[in-house]
Amino acid sequence: MASAQHVLLSPAELAYLHSSLSLTPPIRPDGRTPTQFRPLVAETGILPGTNGSARICFADGTEAIVGVKAEVEKTRSRHDDETVFVEGAGDDGEEEETDDITRTGESDWIELTVEIPGLRDDDSATAFLAAMLSEALLADGGLVKRLWINRRFHWKLYLDIILISPPLSYPLPLLSLTTHLALLSTRLPRLKSEGDEDPFFDDDWAAAPYLYPRQQTATPTAKSAPRSPATRPPITLLVMAVANNILFDPSKEELAVADAALAVSVTSSTRSDENDDGDGDDSMDVKEKKGRNLRLLSIRTVDPPSRLTPPGVANSSNAAYGVAGNGNGKATEGRTAVAEGEAVVEGVWRAPRGGAKRAVMAALVQKALERGGVVDEVFDALEGVELG
């Protein structure tokens, strides 16, 4: 999908930008290293009426607010289990065991809406953003599992994601990070009833536990047993590739010359067993001895603005009109960004063609998931945001 609007840069400027980003190491316009993020401002708990909320403001001026509200909902009973629930609500151990097994959630327990100023809510861009965000949240089923109350009831989570600035750059990472923070700060009332009774909650808000329990920090007793960091909600980051360079957190200008732009969803979990029951792509899991277990949930390619034909290109030379329609499946072949058959003029920008290279993709995954890597750093930073 196409993101945002064109940047007002001349073909020469674009070409210059492209070539400086293709250098090793790349030189970014704002002087960052390839993995460095721009500074951002984040706070949580800004909406007192919600169960959890967060606001993040990026350096480029984009700003988003996310509010999470929870509601108790009756779980649709399946026809096959006509169990009467009260009898065993007591203390038989059998019950306890089955509890864990039956703790499953369904994807419609989360409802997510995205609002982008200036766009209708049924606009394809909005819908696509919402789909990407909820896809990441639902990918490993970890979040909905947390919403399980008992066999008859569950929490339904409403996530309202609002971009409050004009969409200056592609807002996906901003919205994802804000959602992540909001979920981190989300608390659900403490359950007092047991078993499959109608749920009954503690009226003390201060006793409400976090949806994603925080690590116990600085407790001397806990230090002896090294705890792996707790499971965290997934985040989706934007990564772009220029030539063989991989750049995180691209700015608007950088995106305008991207060979490929990818949305990478990653989650972090504590339990090692989650790796085992994974869906087979073990190669993507990088197990850390200490620290997080990062898991790649999905990679999606995003159409960067660089793919759009800049104004003033004659139809005769426009790829969109099938001029360079030589050869099928060029995306899979992973050719260089510059189309063949066209004279490459130094210093003049040409929109790249073809997909990302496989090697680039592999390096990207590697970079994202490695210990102390970018994603780890991002999780650390988000963890550092004071909740309240």
Partner: protein
Amino acid sequence: MSSLKRSLDSDPFAANISSKIYVRSTKSGKVQKIVREVYLRQDIPCSSRLCRICLKTAPKDAAGRPVPFVLSDAPAGTSTFPQGHYLVPDTNAFLSAMDLFEQSSAFYDVVVLQIVLEELRNRSLPLYNRLISLTKSEDKRFYVFFNEFRLETHVARRDGESVNDRNDRAVRRAVAWYGEHLARSGANKVPAVVMLTNDRDNLRKAKQEGIHACSLADYVRQLKDSERLLDMIPEMEDREDVKEKRPGENLYPEYFTMSRMMTGVKNGLLHQGIFNVSPYNYLEGSIRVPAFPKALLILGRENINRAIDGDLVVVEVLPKDQWKEPSTQVIEEDAITKNENPDAEETEDFVSEKERKALQEEVKRTHSKTTEGHAQPTAKVVGVVKRNWRQYVGHIDQSSVSQSAQQGRKQDTVFVIPMDKKIPKIRLRTRQVAELVGKRILVTIDAWERSSRHPVGHFVRSLGELETKAAETEALLLEYDVQYRPFPKTVLDCLPKEGHDWRVPQSKDDPGWRDREDLRDLLICSIDPIGCQDIDDALHSRPLPNGNFEVGVHIADVSHFVRPNNAMDAEASIRGTTVYLVDKRIDMLPMLLGTDLCSLKPYVERYAFSVIWELSPDADIVNVRFTKSVIKSREAFSYEQAQLRIDDDSQQDDLTKSIRTLLVLSKKLKQKRLDAGALSLSSPEVKVQMESETSDPIDVKTKELLDTMSLVEEFMLLANSSVARKIYEAFPQTAILRRHGAPPKTNFDELANQLKVKRGLDLSVESSRALADSLDKCVDPKEPFFNTLVRIMATRCMMAAEYFCSGTQAYPEFRHYGLASEIYTHFTSPIRRYADLVAHRQLAAAIEYEAVDPSVRSRGRLEAVCKNINVRHRNAQLAGRASIAYYVGQAIRGKATEADGFVMKIFSNGFVVLVPRFGIESLIRLRDLAEPEPQATYDAETYTLTTSGSREVTVELFQKVRVRVSDQKDETTGKRGVKMELVTVY
């Protein structure tokens, strides 16, 4: 990446804004996080008369005068605080010892913190209401201080602090602030501000913070009559002590959690209902639940599981092999648990040997039975939704008093036997055993722990010696929750200023005459019992030229004097009804109205509300109209006088003639009613004759029935149903009506079976008509009273009639079963019943005499009114009966008489005899028959009890027996009651 948290310091108003966050669960199952913003202010006064600072900012009323301050400028001192003191109790102090605060000897100048008040409301609504009425009373000087809204006393919850700790801290903060604030007031004698709490931790922290604090007991010890007051501090074991108890010692099963009960009830696996104890067997309870047509039985201490009569409980049905028959045995608590030691109870077995034996008998009997089908479903209590505890009247069980306690002043534990047999014994700790033995005392139940065999309570006050008239009457009123305190000043202020000199205005231009008909020239008279002062109703009749009759029923126009929503109206709606005791009347309305201004006294003009019919000679209604009027009653007859006058042929004046007309018409009306299936039911009614000077009872008479009584009754019924129709037509949703539900057939099962077995009579209960007919057939040619006996027993199978608001029921449900009337209300006694007053207001609005008051149009309010007056009505009846029973007992005191009686109910170890002459029924146990107790075999099939051994008699149901009635004082309990001994069996 860097993160930033916006600090609140930048907000200039931050100091004044705080918020309160909590989770609210709604009935529909929604769970919401609620955030309330709290705006802190500094103009909430401390309300001490010493304070000059607050006076400047104190809120002012509409006239610009500041609201007067509450707390005294010279509060009372104690030994520790000679300079005087203000009290600041915490929530638990109110929860556990509200009785103390209501004392008139101490506990003045109390600051009730808002946080305490709110917590109290959540914990106990009745206590909250009592505290509210205390804060309203002017002489107690209780002041509600809104500490949560005052900037200086607002306390924000700290991280990890529990709500309770935070609230305790808020109380301490308020106490500290009061102290500092008063010190700055510049008064020369600054009173101490003392926190009252029983929480040790709180006391310790208060000490650290240097503020005055006392435990309740410590504080009371500083007061003058501390001995007496100390007893009112409930026996609250310290928190630490409770923990020491091992769970293994718990005697009762634990209650389910509330959510588990509610889920169970919703799923239909558990059932919710009001727990009732059998009056004959304290170990047997029953509960009526919507799911089953018959009540569920709850047998035995363990299954009853600490429920007390009247509690709203949740029960679970027991498996079928545990189903039992209702007991045919009389089990009385004081007989079985007589020798229990109140101190050393925990060492005993939970179910005592004797109780076990009583149960064994049961089992034996059930097993010997071939008919398994008789077993009834049983259930056990798994939780209490709402306690319905009140204050109970009782006396100390003499046998539980240890010898040492008789003299010493040390605290001692005794048992209190409540007057109401359905309430279990209450364990009580008191220092005044010696004084309280032999007195009627008022106690409350504080708790019933799992580890305690009996509920634990504390002493409230003494009513006086047992068997003195004052004590017994007050006991009765308390037991039936009758409001007997004198009317407060606010109520009396609502009375007309003229007092007894009030007259119907001479000039017809007076607003009082607006839309009123002048009926002063009608020959109206009233017929009431002898000595009746509150005359509600008067009648007249006159022939019309077309051969029909005009009949008028004139009812005292109480609604003219009692305007809706003033203090008098509120008081009357709480009292609900006038209560008639043998020697006393507790009025619903102040005397001035009830016996003078409203009362339709003879020879004076009075306002009335008239129902005037045109009746055909066959007593069919041709038309009816309703009007406010002015009448002048010509005569106030007693039933007897009226009867004499009718029977005396020499009396031929118009007034007598009109009464005769009324009588003829009333007989026709009655016949019509009976044809429609009205029941004539019966209850044993007697009248106690009192000596006029000392009002000591001297004799008991059964009530005579006169034609004139039914004359009045018929026209009242007619008026009531006419009014009911009219107000229902005008207010289909909110008319106040009275219904009498058709009793479920199963109610009559027992009686029908008994009649069938013993007399071969059939009782058909398909309709009220069928029942009336079959009751008519229940006659024993040799025994005229038999029919009455059956009617009395049938009456007990009926449902209670009730007031309701017409929108809450479907029209077919309006039916009055007993009167066989489609629609009915109460209209004719507004002086003594609140329902009638509401009906008056509605009728006045229906005939467009006045505008509809919102209070008679709001369905929610009317429902609440109905609920209250239904309870009051019932209590008033019970209190009246209990009063008669007491006086009957007093009347026959020392005079043993023989009388005929009838066996009403039969058990395997005794039977109940009703003596119509005295209108009393009493249990004769086997052991009362002879010494030693005779053996007996009980045949439940034929309701026959045959004794053998020391005395041989055969007692059957419905049998006529001769009994000796005497009074007897039970030596162990100090209770006097009627005692019957069997003389012969006829």
